[in-house]
């Protein structure tokens, strides 16, 4: 599952239509979500296979610009599956926070379906 967070084709398969990724601390990534929205930021920490920290934002967004927020994802074995914890911090507005929470609920749901 960790590869879905660092491999360009897997990341794209999970969340969009394309991705450019430089998976090392300090490396940049850019995810083409739907040809109109591009998520971008940098990897901060990569501890395969259990933890990843990256900055997060959207190209062209004034409120959540590229790299303006931080996403921390941890993966741990849980029975026969994997427990994914995602923490997204650094929002300046409540609306943005809720909007991204809804977004992650949707995209983590899609990740689960990829393993079903």
């Amino acid at each position: 599952m960790f590869e879905y967070l660092t491999d360009p084709s897997k990341f794209a398969q999970w969340m969009g239509v394309g991705a450019e990724i430089d998976p090392r601390p300090g490396g940049a990534y850019r995810i083409n979500v739907d040809d109109e929205h591009f998520a971008a930021g940098r990897y901060i920490e990569i501890d395969a296979p259990s933890r990843i920290v990256m900055t997060w934002g959207w190209e062209g967004s004034g409120e959540v610009g590229p790299g303006s927020t931080t996403v921390e994802i941890t993966l741990e074995p849980d029975g026969q599956g994997t427990l994914l914890r995602l923490r997204h911090t650094g929002f300046t507005g409540e609306q943005q926070r809720i909007d991204h929470r809804d977004g992650w609920v949707r995209y983590t749901g899609q990740l689960k379906e990829l393993f079903a």
């Binding site: 979500v33 109109e36 929205h37 809804d102 977004g103 995209y107």
Partner: protein, 104 residues
Amino acid sequence: MVDTLLALSSPARREILRMVWSDEKPAGEIARAFDMSWPATSQNLKVLRDAGLVKERRSGTSRLYRADRTALRPLESYLRKTWSQKFDRLRLLAEAEERRKSKR
């Protein structure tokens, strides 16, 4: 008024409005129904919300949307007033353009 027209100019937003016209729907369900990416759904809902065309309600951890039909009322008289004259003008312009092209 401009916001309302702008909000309605997108086919995707008109479909969302149709979906929440009589029933309140959670944001996630709207996104899935149109196979739309989350940022696109979220942006469309924001435009509709800013134009006052949908009302947002929070319930627990989810957000629910429903059309606010009263927001369309001012649009009705506006359209009735401007539609006929704009349409006539558009037709005249199109005809003039056709004539200009056929002369070449």
